[in-house]
C-alpha cells in the first residue's frame, strides 16, 4: 500500500517542535514534502528538518510568523513556484499558558487569540488561493479537547481552540465546493507539547477519566492528522475529530 500522502505538498505552521514537529514527521513519513514555518528557534527548526531527512523525507523550514501576512503569502508563493501546488495546510501554531482569568492581562488574551485564531486565518487565506485554483486541498486545524469539552483549562486557550472548531465548520461549508476539506483534530492531553504546562495533579485527573488510562503520544495525534490529510479521508469535512483516549 502506498504512503498516505505520497506526492503531496504540505505546509505546517509551528512545525519546529512539539506536536508541530510530530505532524511534520508523520506527513513526511507518509510521503509528503513538508514545509513548515516557525517564529523563534532556528535550532529547533533544524532538528525537525534533520529528523525528517534522516527518515528519508524532504522538508524545508521557514522563519515566518503566522501573524506575518506578507511573509506567509511569499512562503506559499515560493512553494507554488517550486512545486506547482500546495495540497495540505495544518494550522498548528500555538502555545499553552497557565494563568487564571483573574490574573490574565489583556496582552495575554490578545496574543493567545492572535496566534491560534488569527494565525490560522492568515495561513488559510494564503494557501486558499492555490487550493481554489487547483480545486483540491486539505486544511486541518489543530484544536484541543479544551475547545470541545468543559475542562479545567486556561480560558483564553480554551476560547481560542473552540474558535478553531467554529472556523473549521464554517470554512468547510464555504469552500467545500472547490474540493477542499476542512477538519479539526482535537487532541486530549499528550505526553509532550503544550501539556508540559499541565500541573501533575491535573494530568492524573485526566488519566483517571480517560478510558485508556494514559495520556496520548504526540505521534498518535499526528498520525490522525496525516490520515485526515490523505486521500483516504476524502469525504470527511467540517468534522472535529477528538483524539483523547475516550475521556
Amino acid at each position: 500500500m502506498s504512503a498516505l500522502c505520497a506526492g503531496r505538498i504540505a505546509l505546517v505552521t509551528g512545525g519546529s517542535r512539539g506536536l508541530g514537529r510530530a505532524i511534520c514527521l508523520s506527513l513526511a513519513r507518509e510521503g509528503a514534502f513538508v514545509a513548515f514555518n516557525y517564529a523563534k528557534s532556528d535550532e529547533d527548526a533544524a532538528i525537525t528538518v534533520a529528523q525528517i531527512e534522516a527518515a528519508g523525507g524532504r522538508a524545508s523550514a521557514h522563519k515566518v510568523s503566522v501573524l506575518d501576512k506578507p511573509g506567509l503569502a511569499e512562503l506559499v508563493k515560493s512553494l507554488d513556484r517550486e512545486h506547482g501546488k500546495v495540497d495540505i495546510l495544518v494550522n498548528n501554531a500555538g502555545y499553552g499558558q497557565v494563568v487564571p482569568l483573574a490574573l490574565m492581562e489583556e496582552s495575554d488574551w490578545d496574543e493567545m487569540l492572535d496566534t491560534h485564531v488569527k494565525g490560522a486565518f492568515l495561513a488559510t487565506q494564503a494557501v486558499l488561493r492555490v487550493m481554489v485554483r487547483q480545486k483540491y486541498g486539505r486544511i486541518i486545524n489543530v484544536g484541543s479537547l479544551a475547545g470541545v469539552k468543559m475542562m479545567q483549562a486556561p480560558v483564553h486557550y480554551a476560547t481560542a481552540k473552540a474558535a478553531l472548531k467554529g472556523f473549521t465548520e464554517s470554512l468547510a461549508k464555504e469552500i467545500g465546493r472547490y474540493g477542499i476539506t476542512v477538519n479539526c483534530v482535537a487532541p486530549g492531553v499528550l505526553d509532550e507539547g503544550v501539556s508540559d504546562h499541565l500541573p501533575p495533579a491535573r494530568k492524573e485527573e485526566y488519566i483517571r477519566h480517560c478510558a485508556m488510562r494514559r495520556v496520548g503520544k504526540l505521534s498518535e495525534a499526528a498520525d490522525m492528522i496525516a490520515f485526515i490529510a490523505s486521500e483516504r479521508a476524502s469525504y470527511t469535512s467540517g468534522a472535529t475529530l477528538v483524539v483523547d483516549g475516550a475521556v
Binding site: L128, R129, V130, V132, R133, E174, I175, R177, Y178
Partner: protein
Amino acid sequence: MDCTSCDTTPPRPDRPHTFFAHEQDACPACATAVEARVVLRDGKVVHLMRCTACGPQEREVSTDAEGYVRSFLARGVVPDGLVGDHLFKHTTSTCPKCLALVTADVVIRRGQVYFLKDCRQCGPSEALVSEDANYYVKAYAFARAGTQPLKFRTEAEHGCPTDCGTCDDHEQHTCLPIVEVTDHCNLECPICIVDNQYSKHMEPATFQKIVDGLIEAEGVCETIALSGGEPTSHPKILELLAIANRPEIGRVVLITNGIRLGKDRVFAQALKDMGVYVGLQLDGFTADVHTKIRGRDLVSEKDAALAILKELDIPTQLIFVATRGVNDHQIGQVVELFLSGSHFLSLNFQPVAYTGHGGGTFVHDPNDRLTIPGVIRHIDQQTGGKVGYTDFFPLPCSHPQCVSLTYLLRLEDGTSIPFARFIDFEKHATLLRSSATLPATPEVEDALSDVIHDVFARQDEIPRGPEILAALRRSLDEMFPKKPLSSREAFRVSERQSKSIFLHHYMDRHDFDLERLRKCCHHYPQIDGKIMPACGFNMFHRGAAKGPDTPRATFGRAPFSLPVLQ
C-alpha cells in the same frame, strides 16, 4: 428556469421546455406546411405546431437535445471557399411592403446575416439582420427556458402573432412592462417609433387597473416604465408615478426626452423624492445629430436635463438610439459620459428600428444598417477597448438575438471594469439571466461566491485583480451593513455596485423575426387588459409600421382601444 430579473414572490412557474428556434415542418396529421416551435424538453427536441386545420400538434425530432444544438450551431459554419450565400436556417418575417408574414431564408453572406424573402404579392426583398454572423450563430447557444406569468391574458387559438396579449404559447413573462400613458409629445422625432395622435392622456383610474392587472399576471415586477408620447406632458404624471410606486414593483422608470426635467426643477425634485428612476433619451451631443433624429437642436436642453439628474443624484438610464451615418460616431462619447457618473446605472443602445410615425419613413437602407454587433464594435473602437467587443454576451432572458449586455464593476478609483474581464460567463450563465440587477437568489449567490473565489485565486493573473477584490469587498460591506437595510434600501444599494450596458434591437418590417417575438419580454400593457409584446405591437397593432396610416393587420388593435379593462 425563472427569469431572475424580478423577485419571484409568488413564484412564476418555469416554462416546461427551453424554446430554441423556429423551423419549417408539416402537420403530423394533415401534412400541411407549418412553422414549428423547436423546444428542448427532457433532453429531447420537439417540434410544437399549431395547424390551422388540426390544432396543436407536436413531433419529436431528436432524442439528443445537446447533439441537436451542436449540429444546429454547426449549420452556421460557412464551408471554406463558398462563394455566395450560405443558408443557416429559416424563419418567418414580414414583407417590407405589404407586411404579410413570409418565410425568410436566414443566410450568411460575407460574415453578415441577411433575411431573404419572397412575397407572393410584392416580390423579393432582403435585409441585413446582423453584422456578425459568428455572434448571431453563437447567440443560439445562450437559449434558456423562460418563465410564464401567473396568468396569461389570452389563449393561443390561431398562433403567433395573432393571439397576442400574451397567450399561453408565449415563451417569456413580462420582464419590462412599458405603459404608454399619453399620446401627446413635445417633439416630432424623425425616428419616432410610436404614432402620437395627440388625443389621450391615460386616466389614473385606468392606469391603476393596468398596474393591478400587471401584478395579477406577474406577482412582482422588477421594473415598470412609463412612456408615451412624452410622459412628462401628462398633466397627472406624478399621480401615475405614485400609483406605480408600490411594494410589488422594484423600480419605477420615467422614460423621457428630458426637456421638462431641465426646465422644471420642482418636477425633478418630485421625481427624486418619489424615488423614481429616469430613462433619458440621449442620442448624441451635437445640434446636427439631434436635428436629424429628434427634429431640432436639443443640446442645451439635454445638458440641462443631465445637470439636474446629476445634481439631484437621480438614478438614470441613458437611452441612445444608434443610427448608421447619423450618430454612430458619438457612441463612444455616450459611453464615456455614462461611465463618468455614479447616478448612471445603465446605458441602453437601441440600434434604430425603422418603424413608427417617424421611423417608418426615415431614409434608410435595410441592407446597410446598425445591428447589435455593429454598435458593440463602435463601443470597442471609440472607447479604445475600455469596453470591448468580447465583453458583451447575448441575454438569454429574451430571445438571444434581441438583447446583448455587459455588466461593469465600479472600482474604488471611480473607473469601471467589465465583468467579462474577470468572470467566465459561459461557466456562470446564471449571472446573465437578469435584465438589470443581480437578485439575491440562491443560484446567483452561489455564482457570485464562485466568482469571488475565482478572482481571489487568480488575482495575480487577472488585470486589476486586487482592485476587483477590493470593489467586491466594498459591495458586500455596502449591501450588508451592520444596520440591516429594508428590502428597498438593499435594492437601491445593490444596483449602485455595478453598471450595465444593454443593446436592444427592436424589430421593423425588414428584420422582423417571429421567432424573436415568441420570447419577447418587453411588453406594452394595454387598457383592454392585454399585455402586448413590443415589436408585435409596433408591427401589427400600432398602425405605423411603415409610417403614418399604415394599414393595421386584420387582428390589430390600436393603442387605447376599448373595451377598457374591467
